[in-house]
Symmetry: C2
Subunit: 207 residues, 2 copies
Amino acid sequence: MPSATFLNLPQEKQEKLLEAATREFSRRSFNDASINQIIKDAGIPRGSFYMYFADKTDLFRYLMSGYVDQLLSLLEELLIREQGDIFEALLDLFDYVQRRRNEDHLGETGAMLAILGRNAGMQRSTVLEMISPGEIMDRLGRLVNADQLHLEQEQDLRDILAVLLAVSGPLIYNGALPCDTDGTAARAHFKNVLRILRRGMERQTLS
Amino acid sequence: MPSATFLNLPQEKQEKLLEAATREFSRRSFNDASINQIIKDAGIPRGSFYMYFADKTDLFRYLMSGYVDQLLSLLEELLIREQGDIFEALLDLFDYVQRRRNEDHLGETGAMLAILGRNAGMQRSTVLEMISPGEIMDRLGRLVNADQLHLEQEQDLRDILAVLLAVSGPLIYNGALPCDTDGTAARAHFKNVLRILRRGMERQTLS
DNA sequence: TAAAAATATGACAACTTGTCAGCTATCATA
DNA sequence: TATGATAGCTGACAAGTTGTCATATTTTTA
């Protein structure tokens, strides 16, 4: 959490720092990102930075919580459009990310995707703990069409969503990284994985 | 890859360095691990270290490739014992890891698990690229009982194994971290996830 | 207006990694 | 055995990192 001092700053100055941080974090991974670079870019002295944020992690969490929230909102929107079909919604998300990648000027969403992608595999403690997994599950669980899903036990919905997100995340984020050249192959792969998850991995024996 | 110079070193000296590295990497994550600490512990001067390994990543890869290989061998053994049932083998692996965790003196296997766990979520580029995913798939694919699995397309076996490993990895590793107190709950959770993956997420409509 | 509270700041300490010039030991050959 | 070549060893160093803190400035309060 940023300090009260930071929140009291004029909007303009806040954004300047946040934008500089976004630039740096979308270029380098969390560990490689340099506070020196950020404050030079934002034009504020070192001491001031530590007045506003406890440390690099604090700043990163603050940025990420906004981004994760944004992405979650997008997924909610897609889920509504697909009438609760979580598999279709995830494929839509893949396409959305892919489309954004092809637009050369990435803008805010692009930067967000770059950051998420660049830190996709990061320690859960840093990236995901800032938004509680429970909150994610609640927000999505409400919109998912449960009739479509094979639910036997109480926690099945949560586990299904958790697995889906854990598997889809890297596949979608990697599609967002500029190094991955062939988008259509990545899409086919993602689609196949979703198909497997839907219908199950084990051969059904007629009993 | 370590330099020829390192490989020419007397076994004793090699091990001293490798053991010091293992100690450090099982205590701190890759990024937090300090070469200073390692060389102080191993009793070699800084210059020598860089004579043997190109950098920290080089050393880490070398260690990890051995560990991943070790874990893979174990999984192969379990796979044979379970007559190719990959789901049972993964559950056995969970139990094996759990058991090792409870033995207080961790030893080599324990250190390996600690390192894997501590860096479970790390960038794929560093942790997993050292052993080619293809090799993992080949080694496991040979031992898996394909008759048990629902295979429709050519790449289904690969995709199933990839998803299984990606999902199981964190769940197993987290069971290995000392912070996680309740092992039986973690086991039940892992078992439920495996059940969902076997039978599929989508409700089967009778057509 | 004067004192008090809040905010700003850059020099600093304590680390980090990787390099490199110069050292020493080993080994083959004349 | 002496000499030259090759391989290996080493610590000081440059260039970077982060977070702290005493001091200076501004703003608010009495």
